[in-house]
């Protein structure tokens, strides 16, 4: 057997510190954040819309603090002050913006990578499928939390600021925690579920269309079917499920609407189940890409 030889062509192997395997997902996350931030219409404009909703809500809370809202009532039929009910009423608006961000950003992520052949680059490096999934989800969580978590949280803090005494502050403190809980659940919903659609089909335009059809058509159908068949069916609609959770947490009900008939457990279970299915789809797509993308990989 002939002896091997390495020729020094001037290339020096990198000998510095290497990022740990467990932190590779941060690279994916940072790239995704940078991409979403690039154009105005993809994310920035929706962030501005969320800020405007927050500003308008805050302004109205300040001006009409003690006025009552006619369409919303306490559990025992008590009147609800605007400052208390505004947050619950504004959550559906944040959800609409979250759905649009999900459509423009989330629903095209995995499909775009499949279509462009990016997986070949990812898995030619020491990148694990879970790094990819975690990175994508983390990026979406950050983007959506700025809309769905920050907005309600700010309004909750403002509510504390509108209190006139320490006792009122302590009484109103749970509002902040409830705003956090609702915001976190909404962030999870709009970060994860669209990713599932993105993984279903290898074309980002069709993935976007499927998500839009699911959210705007199937969701509306489920909400309507929940009215006359079984309220639990309405929980399939993500916005209805989130609205139900919000009203239950804040112990309000919408006069003339039936969303309160959806049990909070069913609403949360629906969101969790849809998120789990979405993660499963993403994992399936990514594993498939890992095995086929670079040829010969077992």
């Amino acid at each position: 057997m002939s002896a091997g030889q390495i020729h020094d062509l001037g290339y020096k192997r990198y000998v510095g510190t290497r990022r740990s395997l467990g932190s590779r997902w941060t690279v994916i996350m940072r790239h995704q954040l940078a991409t979403a931030w690039k154009t105005w219409w993809r994310y920035k404009i929706w962030l501005i819309a969320a800020l405007m909703i927050t500003a308008i809500g805050a302004g109205l809370m300040y001006i009409a603090t003690d006025k009552t809202i006619q369409i919303i009532a306490g559990m025992s039929g008590t009147q609800v002050k605007f400052a208390d009910g505004a947050l619950a009423l504004l959550v559906p608006w944040y959800c609409r913006i979250g759905a649009l961000v999900a459509m423009f950003v989330g629903s095209t992520l995995v499909a775009g990578d499949v279509q462009s052949g990016a997986f070949t680059f990812y898995f030619a490096r020491s990148m694990r499928p879970r790094d990819y999934v975690i990175g994508k989800v983390a990026a979406l969580v950050i983007l959506l939390s700025l809309i769905l978590l920050a907005g309600p949280l700010l309004l909750g803090i403002l509510r504390l600021g509108l209190c006139e005494s320490t006792e009122q502050v302590l009484e109103a403190l749970p509002i902040v925690l409830k705003a956090l809980a609702v915001g976190a659940l909404a962030t999870l919903t709009y970060a994860v579920v669209p990713l599932g659609f993105s993984a279903m089909i290898a074309n980002r335009r069709y993935a976007m269309a499927l998500w839009a059809a699911y959210y705007f058509v199937v969701g509306t159908m489920a909400a309507a079917a929940g009215l006359f068949i079984e309220p639990v069916i309405g929980a399939i609609d993500l916005s209805t499920a989130l609205e139900a959770v919000t009203l239950r947490l804040f112990e309000f009900r919408l006069i003339g609407r039936h969303v309160m008939e959806i049990p909070i457990g069913a609403a949360v279970a629906s969101i969790v189940a849809q998120s789990a299915i979405a993660i499963g789809l993403v994992a399936w797509r990514v594993r498939g890409a890992q095995h086929s993308g670079i040829g010969g990989s077992s």
Binding site: M103, R205, A209, V217
Partner: protein, 232 residues
């Protein structure tokens, strides 16, 4: 001997034929049909539950179709042509550029109209055991056509993101259309609903026809003017 330039009509015909052929061999038609079938499924569920739903309530589920299907077919087709750079083949040919847009619309707008009107026909039939009125079908066809022209205009203005922006525009159009404000005059979905005469009462034709025509002319003009300037 080099041939004469292709006539506009032959360009339109050729492009329409190619577009339909590609559509038939791709996934878009299946996905579009699946989306269009959703209101039909809802009608079947309502019928099975023996509930009464008016055609006006059923129209709520046709509104998203007006947002999605023109975007999926028209805007996506134009956007893909430019993004994939296959438009370089077209721009280098001896054809009028407006004929390219016309060819795509001739192929895709009828598909969009057929899916939306078909969904309306089937779902109304299932729900009411009677065919919908001719007026409502014509109104939906008109709305679908105007939405297709809008999609074409948006896609030529912003080719890379035309589909997403068209969906966004039409969702805003949907939202404005349900508000009791004068702005809804320029809403395609509102005017389609008025023209379909689903609510009963006096039958208003002039306003919705003029409004829809004006919207079509504006977006159509944007599309046909912009495509003449597009560079590859």
């Amino acid at each position: 001997m080099t041939p004469l330039p292709a006539t506009a009509w032959s360009t339109v015909r050729t492009l329409a034929g190619v577009t339909l052929k590609r559509l038939g061999r791709g996934k878009a038609l299946w996905i579009g049909a699946m989306i269009a079938a959703l209101p039909v499924v809802y009608a079947a569920i309502v019928h099975a539950a023996q509930r009464l739903v008016s055609p006006d309530d059923l129209f709520i589920f046709l509104r998203p179709l007006l947002a999605l299907l023109p975007a999926m077919f028209v805007a996506a087709s134009i956007g893909e042509e430019i993004e994939d750079r296959t438009s370089t083949y077209l721009w280098s040919r001896a054809i009028e550029r407006w004929a390219v847009l016309a060819g795509k619309l001739c192929a895709l707008a009828p598909i969009v109209i057929a899916l939306i009107v078909g969904a309306w026909l089937l779902s109304t039939e299932i729900l009411t055991r009677a065919a919908p009125t001719v007026v409502s079908c014509v109104a939906l066809a008109a709305g679908a056509l105007v939405a297709s022209l809008t999609a074409a205009g948006i896609a030529t203005a912003v080719p890379r993101h035309g589909m997403a922006l068209t969906i966004g525009y039409m969702l805003v159009d949907n939202f404005v259309g349900v508000l009791p404000i004068s702005l809804r005059t320029i809403s395609i979905t509102h005017q389609t609903r008025v023209l379909a005469h689903l609510e009963g009462g006096p039958f208003v034709v002039a306003t919705p026809v003029i409004a829809l025509a004006a919207i079509a002319v504006v977006w159509g003009t944007i599309g046909f003017v912009r495509i003449r300037r597009l560079e590859s």
